[in-house]
Amino acid sequence: MEADKELDKFMSDLIDEKKLDGVDDEIKKELIVDMKERFADILDRRMVDALPDDRVEGFSQLLDRDDIDNAVLQQYLIDAGVEVQQVTVRTLLEFREIYLR
C-alpha cells in the first residue's frame, strides 16, 4: 500500500538521518515498525486534541460502535473542523524533532 510505503520511507529516512550504528536491514525494519507505532500514538493524541471539546464525546462514542468504518471516522473529523492533513504534517515534523533529538 502506497501510504504505508511512504510512511515507511519517512521513518527510514529518519533512521538514516540519525546515523545510528549497527542498524542492518533487519533491525531497521523493526525500528520502522516501532517508530510507526510511536508516531501513531502521538498522532492519536494530537488528533483528539484538535477536536473541539464538544466533539470529543461524539468521537468517543463513534469508536464504541460496532459498525464503524474508516470513512465515517474520517468524515467525523473533517466535519468537526479538524484539519486532518495539517495535524498529520505537524505531527510528522514533531515526531521527527523528537526522534532526531
Partner: protein
C-alpha cells in the same frame, strides 16, 4: 532442682476459630485495580526519570520521557501494569509486599463484604453490596459449584477450571468501560468455602442445609485512594483510538498519508514560509514554544498534584531532597491518619470519664464522630483524600477498621445520649439539644474541611500559575533560541538555505523554486542580497542595460523586465536613458538599478527627405542590380494574355494581405507549377531555380528605372519577404488592409547570370504591375551623429524568503518529582507482619497504664500482677496452673534470691544441645556478677516423637544429665529448669502455628515473669525491676562481665527497656576463615550502627543476646499470644518490636510500617510535636533520653557473646548460598548446622597462598548484604566506617556502585584491598599475626607466648 513432666502444651497452641458460616463473597475490585495500574505506571515513570545517570543523560531522558513522550510511556506502562494485574488477579501486583500482607488485604475485603455493615460500604465512593437471590445466575452457579465439589463430583483441578468459568460469567454480567474489562479483578472465597463445605460434609453435616443457608454476596470495592487519576474523556478516547479495531491511523485516508508525508518531507527540506515581518519571526517561534510549554506544564502540575495526593494517602513519604513534592504537599488537603483516628476514638471510648458519663468526655466523642463522618463523606463524595493510610495494601483494612471504630463510637454515643443526665448535662453545658449539637458539629467540621479545601486549591492555583509562568517564560526564550539554532544547523547542511554562516563565507544560496531562502539570522545579517545569476545585455539604441537575474526586452521605448514571474515595465530612452521615475519604480519592485554610465557614441539618425526616383535609386544603388530581360516565360501567349505561372505571384502574409509580421511585405509564388513557365522551347522549374538561388523578385520603382530594379531572393518555398527597412518596402503601402504596390513592376525572374559588362540577365516568369505612383513624400534616409548613450546595470534579485524557524514544542527539561522513599529493609523478613487488626489486638494486650501513657515509668509489681491476670484471660487458667506448677516444682524458681536482678532464660532443645549446655552454663558460672543477683532458667523441651528415636532420646537424657552435672559443679549458680514435651501429632496438624520456638519461649518468659511476680506477691522480692535476659544454649564464649554489664545498664538507665549486646560468631573459626571473621563482624557492626544518630534503622533484638526490663515486658504482654505467629522472630524480635510499638505509638499504625519506616517524616513530625510541647516533653518518653530514634533500646558495651557460627558459617562456605545474609533464609525450625562439618572439610581460606580469593569472597558477600539486607546507604556507610578506614592516603578504601540489574557492588580500592589484607594478616606493628589468632589471644588470652596484653585477665570466658 525439681523436674516435672509438663502437661502437653496444648494450651499454648489453640487453632484459630474458623467462621462456621459458608457465605461466599465475590468482590469486584476492577476500579481500584486500574487505579493501581495507573499508580504503578506513575511510580515506574518517576523511577525512570530519577534513575542514575549523568546530567546530560538525565536531561535527555527528561526531555524524552518527561515531556514529549511521557504520555506515550505513561499509557504504555499503564497498559502493561493493567495486564499484569488482570492476569495475576492481584491489584497489589506491583507493590513490594509479601503474600501474607496481600492475603490479609483480601481476607479483610471478603470479611467486610460478608459482614455487610452499612457504615462499611462506601456507596458514595462507588461501592455496593448485594446479597444475591438464589435465583440469580451467579448465585445459582456458585452454589452449584460448591455442591459439586463437596459431593466429590469435581476434583481440585476441575474446581479451579469451573471457578474460572464462573468468574468469566460474572465479568460478563458486570458491564464496565472498556478499560475495566482489560483490568478486571475480583477477589472471592469460593475455593476456601468449597473446601470448608466439603470438610463439613465429611464430618456429617448436611450439604443441602449448608447450600440452602449459604449466601452469595456480590460486592464492588473502592478502598483505594479517593483522588481520581486524570483520566479525562480525551484520555479515554485516545485509548479507544489506539485500540480501535480499524487499526492504527484509521482516520487517515491513504491519500492523506501520502500527501502529509510528502509535505512534511518537503517542509523538512525547505521549512515553512510565512509572510511575517522579521521582528515577528523572531518572537513567533518563542511564543508558540512558550505557549506549548505552558500548556504542558499546566497539565503536568495537575498530574503531580493528583499523584502526590494519592501517594500521600497511601502512606508514601517523600525524600528530603524532593523539593518539588515538598512544594506540592503544601497544596494537599489536610488528612487524618485512619489508624490514628480509629485508635484515638477507641481510646476516647475507653476513658473512665466517658464510662462515667462525664459531659466533656461525651462531647469529645461527639466531636470526633462528627469530624470523622464529615471527613469520610466528603472524601467519598468529592473524591478527595482526607484520610491517610499506612500503605496502599493496608488501605482496605484500615479504612474498614476506621468504619468499625465509627460504628462502635456511634453505638456508644447513642447509648450515652439515652441517659437523662447526659442529655441534661449537654443541654446545660452547650445550650443545645444533643442531636442539634451533633448536627452543628458536622456542619462545623464540614465548613472547616471545605475551608481547607478552598485554601489548598488557592495555593495550588498559585503554584500552578507560578510554574506555568516560569515555563512559558523559559519556553518563549528557549523556543526562539532552539528554533533559530535548529534552523541554522539545517542551513549548514542544506545548500538551498542561506544561514548566518554564509554571510561570512560568501557562499551563495542555491535557488529553490526560483527563490532564495534564508534563515532568520541569515536574512537579518545578509548584506549581499544580489541574485548571483547570469547577466545579459539588452540594447537600447546606442546604450544598453546589463540585466542580471532576470530577462528584459525593450520595445517601443518600454523596457519589460521579467522578475521571476512578475512583470515590471518602465520607459527607457532611445540610448538607454532611464528617468528617475523609472528608476524608482524598479527599485520599488525590489529590483536593484545601478548608476547609468554615460558613453560617447555615434548615434544613428534617419533623415526624412523628398527625392526623385533616380535619386532614390542612386541612394540605394548598392541594393539594386542593372538588368537586361532576355525574354519572358510567356508560355507562348503574348501579352496581354497571361496564363499559367504568369498568374502565380500573390500577396502572402496575414490572410493574403501581403502584410507580414513587423511590417514586412510578404508575397509568394508557391501556387506556380513546375511546368507553368516556358517560352519557345525554354522552360524553367521555379522550385529548382529557387533552390539554386536563381529565382528572384525584381522590383522596379518606375517604368523608367526598370533596368535597375531591387533584387530580392525568393526562398525555395516560394515566399518573398521584404523587410520593412528594405528600400523596396517603401514602394508598398497598406491600403484597406492590403499591401498595395506603388512601384512600376514586381517581377518573378530567373537570374541567368551576369555578363561581362556587369549586366544581370533576367527572364521574368510573372509580373505584378504596380500603381506606378512614386510616393514623392519624405523618404527616411538613415545616418549617424555624435551623441551619448547610457549603460545601466540592472539586478533582478531572486525573491528572498526568510524562513520561519521551526516552531516545535519547546523541549524544556522538566524535573519530575522524585521517587517516594522505598521501604527500608527489615532485618528479618520473617518479622514483617501486621494488619490493623493485629495492631488493634496488640493495643488490647498492653497494660492500661502503658496504653494511657506510653512514656509511663512502670511499677514491676503492678505490671507483673496485671500480666498474670492477662495470661489467665488470654491463655487460660490451665496454662497458668501449669506455669505455677513448674515454678513450685523448682526450688530456684519458687525461692529466688532476695537480691535477684536478672533471670537468664535459655531455650534448650533436649536432643540438640547435649554437647553445648554444660559449657554454656559454665560461662555463667564464670561471670563476675554476684551469683545471687541472677539465675539461669532453662526451658528444656522436645517432641514426644523424639523419645521414640534411640539416639535422640539418649541426647535428651544427656542434656538433662549435663544440666545436673553443671548444678553439681557450679553450686553457686542458680540453674532452674522447666520442661515441655510437645506433641508431634499436633505439630503435624499445624496446631502449633508456624513454629515451635514461639511456644518454647513464651512459656519460658511467662515462667520467669511469674517467678518474680510470685516472689513479689510473697514479699520475698521488693518492687524492683528484674532483667529478663534471653540467650541461646550454644554459646562458645562470653564476656566475663556479661551479666553485670546488663544489670548495671538496666539500673543506670531507667529510661531504657531493652538491652542488647554484641555477638561474635565463632571466633575459634576465624583462623581458618579470616574472610568469615570480617563478614560476620560486619553483620554485628551493622546492628550496632543502628544506634548511631541519623541512622533510621530498627535495632533488632536477637535471641542470642537480648535483655528486657521485666516490668515493661509484662506491660506489653510479653511476646504476645498469636497462635499462628510462633515461628522465627516471634521469640526474640517481638521483644523489641512490642516494646517499641507500646512505647512509641505515635508512629502509629501497623508495626511493619513502624519498623520499616522508622525515622520517617511522619515520625519526625510526632517527635517534633512532642519536643515542641513542654508538657509532653517533660513527661515524654522520647524526651527523657533525647537521643537517637530508639531511646527505649540501649546497646550494652561489654556484654558480648561468642556464639556458635554453624549456620552463618555454612552460608559463608556453601557455594550455593550467595551470602551470609541468606543464612536464615531457609529456616525451617530444624537442625541449623546441616552440612557445616562437610563444608568445613572442603573449604578453607589461606592468607598466604590465596589472599585474592578471600578478598573476592568478602566483596561478593558484602555486595549481596548491602543489596538485599542492609539497604540504607547511610547505615552501610556508618557500619563500614567502623570496620574500614574511610580514606587511605587520600584515597577511599572502598567503592559501592550500582549495577545494571539494580544490585549494589562493594569493591575494595587498591589501597583498601592492601589495607584489608594487611589487617587480616598482621598486627598494627606489621608482624604476621592473623586475625583469628589475634582475636583469640585478645579475648581469650590464647597463644600469648610472652606478648604483652591489655588486660591481665582474659576478657572472655570459654
Amino acid at each position: 532442682m525439681s523436674e516435672s513432666r509438663p502437661a502437653p502444651a496444648s494450651s499454648v497452641a489453640t487453632p484459630p476459630e474458623r467462621d462456621a458460616r459458608f457465605d461466599i463473597a465475590i468482590v469486584d475490585q476492577s476500579q481500584d485495580a486500574i487505579d493501581a495500574a495507573r499508580d504503578a505506571a506513575e511510580v515506574r515513570l518517576t523511577e525512570e526519570l530519577n534513575s542514575e545517570g549523568g546530567r546530560i543523560r538525565r536531561f535527555i531522558r527528561n526531555i524524552w520521557k518527561g515531556n514529549h513522550a511521557k504520555e506515550i510511556y505513561r499509557q504504555r506502562y499503564i497498559a502493561e501494569a493493567a495486564k499484569t494485574i488482570h492476569e495475576t488477579q492481584d491489584q497489589f501486583a506491583h507493590l513490594d509486599a509479601d503474600e501474607s500482607q496481600k492475603t490479609n488485604a483480601r481476607v479483610a475485603t471478603i470479611d467486610r463484604m460478608l459482614q455487610g455493615h452499612d457504615e462499611a460500604i462506601h456507596q458514595e465512593a462507588g461501592e455496593n453490596r448485594e446479597v444475591l437471590d438464589d435465583g440469580s445466575a451467579i448465585a445459582s452457579a456458585t452454589k452449584d459449584l460448591v455442591r459439586r465439589y463437596a459431593s466429590g463430583d469435581l476434583d481440585e483441578d476441575a474446581l479451579k477450571e469451573e471457578q474460572s468459568r464462573l468468574l468469566e460469567a460474572y465479568r460478563a454480567t458486570h458491564d464496565g468501560v472498556d478499560e475495566l474489562r482489560r483490568c478486571s479483578v475480583q477477589v472471592h472465597n469460593i475455593t476456601d468455602v468449597a473446601r470448608a463445605v466439603k470438610g463439613a460434609v465429611e464430618h456429617g453435616e448436611s450439604l443441602d442445609q449448608i447450600i440452602q443457608d449459604m449466601r452469595v454476596v456480590d460486592g464492588t470495592e473502592r478502598s483505594g485512594a479517593r483522588t481520581e487519576h486524570m483520566q479525562t474523556l480525551t484520555d479515554r478516547t485516545i485509548e479507544k483510538l489506539g485500540k480501535s479495531k480499524l487499526g492504527r491511523l484509521s482516520f487517515l485516508t491513504p491519500e492523506m498519508t501520502v500527501t502529509a508525508v510528502a509535505v512534511a518531507s518537503s517542509a523538512v527540506r525547505v521549512g515553512a514560509t510565512m509572510g511575517l515581518g522579521n521582528a515577528l519571526k523572531v518572537v513567533a517561534p518563542g511564543i508558540a514554544g512558550g505557549v506549548i510549554a505552558g500548556l504542558r506544564e499546566s497539565r503536568h502540575v495537575r498530574k503531580e498534584r493528583i499523584q502526590s495526593a494519592r501517594e500521600a494517602a497511601q502512606g508514601g513519604e517523600r525524600r528530603d531532597s524532593d523539593t518539588r513534592r515538598e512544594e506540592m504537599e503544601t497544596t494537599l488537603y489536610e488528612t487524618r491518619s485512619a489508624v490514628d483516628e480509629a485508635a484515638n476514638i477507641r481510646e476516647a471510648l475507653g476513658l473512665e470519664a466517658f464510662e462515667n458519663n462525664d459531659i466533656a468526655a461525651v462531647h469529645d466523642v461527639m466531636m470526633r464522630v462528627a469530624e470523622l463522618q464529615e471527613r469520610r463523606r466528603i472524601s467519598d463524595v468529592d473524591k478527595k483524600d482526607l484520610l491517610s493510610f499506612s500503605s496502599a495494601i493496608a488501605m482496605g483494612a484500615e479504612r474498614h477498621d476506621l468504619d468499625m471504630a465509627l460504628v462502635e463510637a456511634k453505638m456508644a454515643l447513642a447509648h450515652k445520649l439515652a441517659i437523662d443526665d447526659v442529655q441534661n448535662g449537654l443541654r446545660s453545658s452547650f445550650g443545645a439539644e444533643p442531636h442539634d449539637l451533633l448536627a452543628a458539629a458536622r456542619e462545623g467540621h464540614s465548613a472547616l474541611i471545605e475551608q481547607d479545601v478552598t485554601e489548598k486549591d488557592k495555593l495550588y492555583s498559585k503554584l500552578r500559575r507560578k510554574r506555568v509562568t516560569q515555563k512559558v517564560a523559559v519556553g518563549v526564550a528557549l523556543g526562539a533560541t532552539l528554533g533559530i539554532a535548529t534552523q541554522e544547523a539545517m542551513a549548514a547542511i542544506q545548500p538551498n538555505i542561506g544561514g548566518i554562516a554564509d554571510n561570512f563565507t560568501g557562499q551563495k544560496t542555491d535557488l529553490h523554486g526560483g527563490k532564495s531562502h534564508y534563515t532568520l539570522l541569515g536574512r537579518m545579517f545578509n548584506t549581499d542580497q544580489s541574485s548571483g545569476g547570469d547577466t545579459h545585455a539588452v540594447a537600447a539604441g546606442a546604450g544598453k542595460f546589463d540585466v542580471t537575474g532576470g530577462t528584459a526586452d525593450i520595445k517601443n521605448g518600454m523596457m519589460t523586465i521579467d522578475a521571476h514571474g512578475r512583470t515590471v515595465e518602465v520607459p527607457v530612452g532611445i540610448n538607454g536613458q532611464l528617468s528617475d521615475a523609472a528608476r524608482e519604480q524598479l527599485q520599488g519592485q525590489g529590483i536593484n538599478v545601478g548608476e547609468s554610465k554615460a558613453v560617447p557614441v555615434n548615434i544613428p539618425t534617419t533623415k526624412h527627405v523628398n527625392m526623385s526616383p533616380d535619386k532614390f535609386l542612386e541612394h540605394y544603388g548598392d541594393k539594386t542590380s542593372h538588368v537586361v530581360r532576355d525574354f519572358w516565360y510567356d508560355n507562348n501567349t503574348p501579352s496581354p494574355n497571361f496564363d499559367l505561372n504568369e498568374q502565380g505571384l500573390h500577396l502572402a502574409g496575414e490572410n493574403g494581405t501581403g502584410i507580414g509580421p513587423d511590417g514586412h511585405v510578404q508575397l509568394t509564388v508557391a501556387p506556380m507549377t513546375s511546368e507553368g513557365s516556358f517560352h519557345s522551347g525554354q522552360s524553367i522549374e521555379w522550385q529548382k531555380a529557387a533552390e539554386s538561388g536563381n529565382l528572384k523578385f525584381a522590383i522596379s520603382a518606375t517604368e523608367n528605372t526598370q533596368k535597375q530594379p531591387f533584387m530580392l531572393s525568393i526562398k525555395p518555398d516560394g515566399s518573398i519577404d521584404i523587410p520593412k527597412d528594405h528600400p523596396a518596402a517603401q514602394l508598398f503601402s497598406e491600403v484597406d488592409g492590403r499591401m498595395q504596390f506603388n512601384g512600376a513592376y514586381g517581377e518573378v525572374v530567373q537570374s541567368a547570370g551576369v555578363d561581362t559588362n556587369g549586366i544581370e540577365h533576367i527572364r521574368p516568369l510573372a509580373t505584378m504591375v504596380g500603381t506606378k505612383e512614386w510616393p514623392g513624400g519624405p523618404v527616411d534616409i538613415p545616418g549617424t551623429e555624435p551623441g551619448t548613450a547610457y549603460i545601466t546595470s540592472i539586478d533582478v534579485p531572486n525573491e528572498t524568503v526568510t524562513e520561519l524557524p521551526p516552531i516545535v514544542p519547546v523541549p524544556l527539561s522538566r524535573k519530575s518529582m522524585e521517587q517516594l522513599k522505598g521501604p527500608e529493609a527489615p532485618y528479618y523478613t520473617a518479622y514483617e507482619r501486621t494488619s490493623p487488626e493485629e495492631w488493634r489486638a496488640f493495643r488490647k494486650e498492653i497494660s492500661p497504664r502503658l496504653r494511657r501513657d506510653p512514656q509511663a515509668i512502670l511499677s514491676p509489681r503492678d505490671e507483673l500482677k496485671w500480666y498474670r491476670g492477662d495470661i489467665e484471660k488470654r491463655k487460660g487458667k490451665e496454662y497458668l496452673r501449669d506455669i505455677d506448677a513448674q515454678i513450685a516444682a523448682s526450688p530456684e524458681l519458687s525461692n529466688p534470691a532476695e537480691d535477684l536482678r536478672a533471670i537468664v532464660t535459655v531455650p534448650v532443645h533436649g536432643s540438640g544441645e547435649a554437647d553445648n549446655i554444660y559449657k554454656t552454663l559454665s560461662l555463667y558460672n564464670q561471670q563476675t556478677e554476684e551469683k545471687g543477683k541472677f539465675m539461669v532458667m532453662l526451658h528444656v523441651n522436645w517432641f514426644d516423637s523424639e523419645e521414640l528415636d534411640v539416639e535422640k532420646k539418649a541426647n535428651i537424657h544427656k542434656t538433662l544429665s549435663e544440666i545436673e552435672r553443671a548444678r553439681q559443679d557450679f553450686p553457686d549458680l542458680a540453674i532452674a529448669t522447666i520442661q515441655s514435651v510437645w506433641e508431634q501429632e499436633k505439630k503435624d496438624r499445624g496446631e502449633y502455628g508456624n513454629g515451635i520456638i514461639g511456644h518454647v519461649t513464651r512459656k519460658m518468659y511467662d515462667a520467669a515473669m511469674m517467678t518474680v511476680e510470685g516472689a513479689m506477691q510473697q514479699g520475698r522480692i521488693e518492687n524492683q525491676d528484674v532483667l529478663l535476659i534471653r540467650n541461646d544454649a550454644d554459646a562458645e564464649g562470653m564476656d566475663r562481665r556479661y551479666v553485670s554489664q546488663m544489670i548495671n545498664n538496666m539500673e543506670s538507665h531507667p529510661d531504657s527497656d531493652v538491652f542488647t549486646g554484641a555477638i561474635r560468631w565463632g571466633t575459634e573459626r576465624h583462623s581458618d576463615l579470616p574472610g568469615f571473621a570480617f563478614v560476620s563482624n560486619f553483620r554485628e557492626v551493622m546492628h550496632i550502627a543502628t544506634h548511631r544518630k541519623g541512622i533510621s534503622e530498627w535495632p533488632p533484638t536477637v535471641g542470642i543476646n537480648t535483655a528486657v526490663r521485666m516490668s515493661t515486658f509484662a506491660a506489653v504482654g510479653g511476646v504476645g499470644s498469636d497462635p499462628d505467629n510462633t515461628g522465627i522472630g516471634s521469640d526474640d524480635l517481638n521483644i523489641g518490636g512490642r516494646v517499641k510499638d507500646a512505647r512509641q505509638p505515635g508512629d502509629g499504625g501497623p508495626r511493619t510500617r513502624s519498623y520499616m519506616r522508622y525515622g520517617s517524616a511522619r515520625f519526625k513530625n510526632i517527635r517534633r510535636r512532642l519536643r515542641d510541647s513542654p508538657a509532653e516533653t517533660d513527661s515524654g518518653y522520647t524526651g527523657r533520653s533525647g537521643e537517637g530514634n530508639y531511646s527505649y533500646h540501649r546497646h550494652v558495651v561489654g556484654a558480648t557473646i561468642d556464639t556458635s557460627p554453624d549456620r552463618l558459617e555454612a552460608a559463608y562456605l556453601d557455594p550455593r548460598v550467595e551470602s551470609t545474609s541468606d543464612a536464615w533464609a531457609n529456616w525451617d525450625n530444624k537442625q541449623r548446622s546441616v552440612g557445616v562439618a562437610e563444608l568445613r572439610k572442603q573449604h578453607k581460606e589461606s592468607l598466604r597462598s590465596n589472599p585474592a580469593a578471600i578478598v573476592s569472597h568478602v566483596e561478593a558477600d558484602l555486595s549481596k548484604s548491602i543489596t538485599e539486607r542492609f539497604k540504607n546507604s547511610a547505615h552501610v556507610a556508618a557500619g563500614l566506617a567502623m570496620m574500614l578506614p574511610v580514606e587511605i592516603d587520600g584515597q577511599p578504601s572502598y567503592r559501592i556502585s550500582a549495577t545494571r540489574s539494580g544490585s549494589k557492588r562493594f569493591e575494595f580500592t587498591d589501597e583498601g584491598r592492601q589495607w584489608f589484607m594487611h589487617r587480616l594478616a598482621r598486627d598494627s606493628k606489621g608482624r604476621y599475626d592473623p586475625i583469628g589468632r589475634r582475636v583469640r589471644r585478645q579475648k581469650y588470652h590464647e597463644g600469648v607466648r610472652g606478648r604483652r596484653l591489655a588486660t591481665k585477665i582474659a576478657p572472655y570466658v570459654k
